[in-house]
């Protein structure tokens, strides 16, 4: 199963996004990387690294970030990590996490989920 990592400046937000995904995809391999080691706001290189490793398998890991340094710090983790099939996805955090976990639990592969997430930002909430 493809693993998912949620990177946020807020420890609570990362955990809550995962709580929300468990409503529809409780079995997903998903890990939070929110806030700094002491719980304050920010993004931690080590937390991101640990989260990726905790859900990593040959099926790969997709990473969703909130903004700014979450993106840059994740980028650096990926550059230093010698692993295949680990990538960031540019999509809204909450909707993306829900879509990704349902797809992962449903057995879809890395590339398929990646493509599906790319469209999440364009889907409408109000018609």
């Amino acid at each position: 199963m493809v693993g998912i990592v949620i990177v946020s400046h807020s420890e609570n937000l990362a955990k809550s996004v995962i709580e929300l995904t468990s409503m529809m995809a409780g079995e997903a391999r998903i890990a939070p990387a929110g806030g700094l080691e002491d719980g304050s706001f920010g993004t931690s290189f080590e937390k991101i690294q640990t989260a990726i490793e905790s859900v990593y398998s040959d099926d790969g890991v997709l990473i969703l970030m909130d903004m700014g340094s979450a993106v840059m710090t994740t980028e650096m983790v990926l550059e230093m990590m010698d692993k295949e099939k680990v990538a960031m996805v540019d999509c809204p955090l909450v909707e993306g996490a829900v879509v990704a976990t349902i797809a992962a639990v449903g057995g879809q592969d890395f590339e398929t989920i990646r493509r599906e997430l790319a469209g999440v930002g364009t889907s409408k909430k109000i018609y």
Binding site: H9, F41, G42, S44, F45, S69, M72, M76
Partner: protein, 208 residues
């Protein structure tokens, strides 16, 4: 010009300056960012300082690269990956060296500036630290080309960095957290440009 001992002394002095200007940097970050730049930089350099002793017998390149790695893992905000990449790429240009001269310094600064541009996907005029780094680099290149001493070159760089920092007040941020504030950010000085200017000032004071 600068040997290993000097480089360690400068890194330590940067840490002291970051601690001294912690509140100022954080206050600058308040209206346009997330009020953490000073805290983040002080935390990062505090961690750097704790590792400095272990670096004493390494070459200058390895020392500076190690500063970058520590900043990436301890700063916690956007300045972590930005300054982290800058120091790491800067260190790479000095691999194996135990002394650095004027040309080495310029090459290091070019690498650092390019690293920030690449990591932040930013260019000049977006109200970021680059608006201090780019003019400083240009001024120092011009000074070196004109045959000025390293001390004079650094003084020119510091003057240009502060002028560039001042100019960020007139710019609308299009990158980073400040871009969410948009036009309301006008009149505010960029915290990243400010911390860079302080850093270069410390180097200029110590380097001879």
């Amino acid at each position: 010009m600068a040997d290993r001992k000097k480089v360690i002394e400068i890194i330590r002095a940067i840490g002291v300056r970051m601690e001294e200007c912690k509140d100022e940097l954080t206050q600058l970050d308040q209206p346009i960012g997330d009020s953490d730049h000073g805290i983040n930089m002080a935390r990062g350099f505090h961690a750097v300082n704790q590792k400095l002793e272990q670096l004493a017998d390494q070459d200058i390149g390895a020392m500076i690269k190690s500063v970058g790695m520590t900043l990436v893992s301890t700063v916690g905000g956007a300045s972590g990956p930005l300054y982290g990449s800058a120091y790491m790429k800067a260190g790479m240009t000095l691999a194996g060296k135990t002394e650095m001269n004027q040309a080495d310094f310029l090459e290091m600064m070019r690498a650092a500036t390019e690293a920030v541009m690449q990591r932040g996907k930013a260019v000049a005029g977006e109200a970021t630290m680059l608006d201090a780094m780019l003019p400083a680099l240009k001024a120092m290149e011009a000074a070196a080309a004109a045959g000025k001493t390293t001390k004079e070159m650094l003084a020119d760089g510091v003057t240009a960095a502060w002028a560039g920092t001042e100019h960020t007040k007139d710019l609308i941020a299009t990158k980073g957290r400040a871009s969410y504030v948009g036009e309301r950010g006008l009149g505010h000085q960029d915290p990243g440009a400010t911390s860079f200017s302080y850093m270069l000032a410390v180097i200029a004071e110590a380097y001879c």
